[in-house]
Amino acid sequence: MSAGTQFAAAAGAVVALPARLVEPVMYGLQRLLGIRRMPWVFLLPNLVAVILFALLPVFINVFYSVSGSDRLFPWDRPLVGGANYATLFDCDNFLDPSTCSRDLFWRALGNSLVFVPVQVTAMILIALLTAICLNRDIRARGFFRGIFFFPVMLSPVVVALTWQWILQRNGALNGLISSAGLTPVNWLVFPNTAFFWSVFVTVWAHMGFYTIILLAGLQAIPRDVYEAARMDSATPWRVFTRITLPLLKPVLLVVFILAVIRSVQTFDELYVLTGGGPGSATMLMVQYIFEVGFASQPRNFGLAAAASLLLGVALLIFTGIQMRISRSGRDD
């Protein structure tokens, strides 16, 4: 808290001067518009940024998805209607990606459909376990917290390079294995092991974030409820299932939604680590979009935009359902 205040003081110093200039302006606005309209004044900068750099790009993407050519500016692009969507959905049999014109899109979708549940489940389980351990009365709690949070700070590129460096044929892991007398495995060459490591590395990199949130949630559970449970002869396991989990539910929900959204958006780490390989075993949706719309030449903005919109709609529906479920759960 005190450092929080110090921090605020430091930040305050940086912006003190501009703030002094802003104050009369804002006061004038308040005079002009009245208090009732002031919230809009406060919202305005953020809203402008959101509209300009988040919503507008989405709308441009919508336009891209119904237009063709590799031109950047919408006015240079001829309309092609639903052609991009038609291309994406050009399949003989939706269950078999290799019958599709854009088989990679469907493979990426399929991979995401496996990757996201597996990764999110692993992530939440491990983060929860870690948070519970860190919430106990243990020595060096701050140190361990630091350890688990540390990877969150590394850039995705660094994370991927680090693990690539460790997992490569002549990497540290194989060094360890061969010095233990076992046969080294070329981890990133086999679809299954590569998939495992994709999950592992992304969990490794992000779980600290969720651990901290869950930890905060755990700490918000009143101590005396646990003491009451102790007096009620509850075993540790029952305390966990009947007290901790239910009381953590709201936080778990936030964590779940965030984890799913970010899992679906996984890109940087895997792009560097596996490049989506072997074959297309770890290519996820965002990488597909990136490859089609950005990494390839000529860039097929239209197809990429169409794919990304489908992804966005899917996420939106998912979150909507989640919210609905959680709300109904809270009402009873």
Binding site: A83, S98, V189, T274, G279, A281, Q287, A295, S296, G302
Partner: protein, 400 residues
Amino acid sequence: QEIRLLAGDTGTGGALFEEMAKSFEEANPGVDVVVEEVSYQTIVESLPVQLEAGEGPDIAIITDLGGLSRFYLDITDYVDADYFEKEWGQTLAWLRGGRDTDAIFGMPTTLTVNGAYVNLTLFEQAGVPVPEEGATWQEWAEATRQVAEATGTDFAMEMDRSGHRFASLAISYGAELVDEEGKPVVDDGLRAAIEQFVEWHENGTMPMDLWGAVGGSTHRELFSDFLNANVVLYFGGSWTLAQMDTEVGDLFDWAVMPAPCGPSSCTVMPGGGAMTAFAHTEHPELAGKLINHFAQPENLDFYISNEVEIPSAASQIANGVEYPDASERTKEALATFTAQIPKMADAAYRFQGWRYQRAMMNALTTRISQVLNNELDVDGALERIEEDVNLAIEAAEGQS
């Protein structure tokens, strides 16, 4: 008046151009040539988008010669067109990206050549004779396999995960890749090359690490394997020479081999950079003149010899260039690389100058990796390569 020139940050490129630009600035008072070194990734990935948006430098040294064609400034009027035609007739066509025009869009700076590096020491230890010039890919595979077996080396051959590298093999096997109309060609040559390639991966001649383990269009290389003598033959590019020279040291003897032959030809892919001005520049004349300045023979020699690169100008290739600072082995290697230039197949040149070359190369890497991982069979891969490229063309032309 400021002219911005963008150069990749490899080698000493930027600094050399800055030096050469000095005399130009003296001759044209008030002109300021700003040379910026950027990462190679910027040149490949973000420069095109910038150009789309009408942004970017006045001049850049680019490697996607055909793909960016429509952003180039026609500098015919500012340069000695005949001289350019004479020196770079072939490569100038690449810059036109298949357009039917005689315009001059820039000056090819360096030439790069794909090629195979071979660990001679391993050959010596295995007691296997090094295949002569004119040996086929299969002979090379056989020989390196023997060496690998005899010396306990991990792998016989490796190739960068790059469509450009693979194209060398493919064209040697008779693949056309692109026809005169600029349409993709998927023929038996390509099929044979892919089948051959898959076989090598299946029988362990090549490791899965590169082509097998990576997906999509990602570029990947494992040159460290060669440096550590984990592989007998490494198929990479001429630009790795400097690294070879410093890092291998006297660990083993190595050499660059002449292009292995396929059933059709003994070709490798050419490549290289070109200096082009862009149409959006505010000082077209200055930009053109600056390029012309760099194109003067003394500047060319200065640049090539300091950069230790393969020259691109016909006269330089013919006369040779002095590399005062390079080691013996490097000079030897450069000579071998240069010697490949005349042997290169037409298809290689055509492919290099094709606007949709990158689409084809991406399709090659993506699809071949899928074949290696049993996601596709060879027929399926061929079908898809054609489909991918056609879709790219359609999309680019806005009619999909």
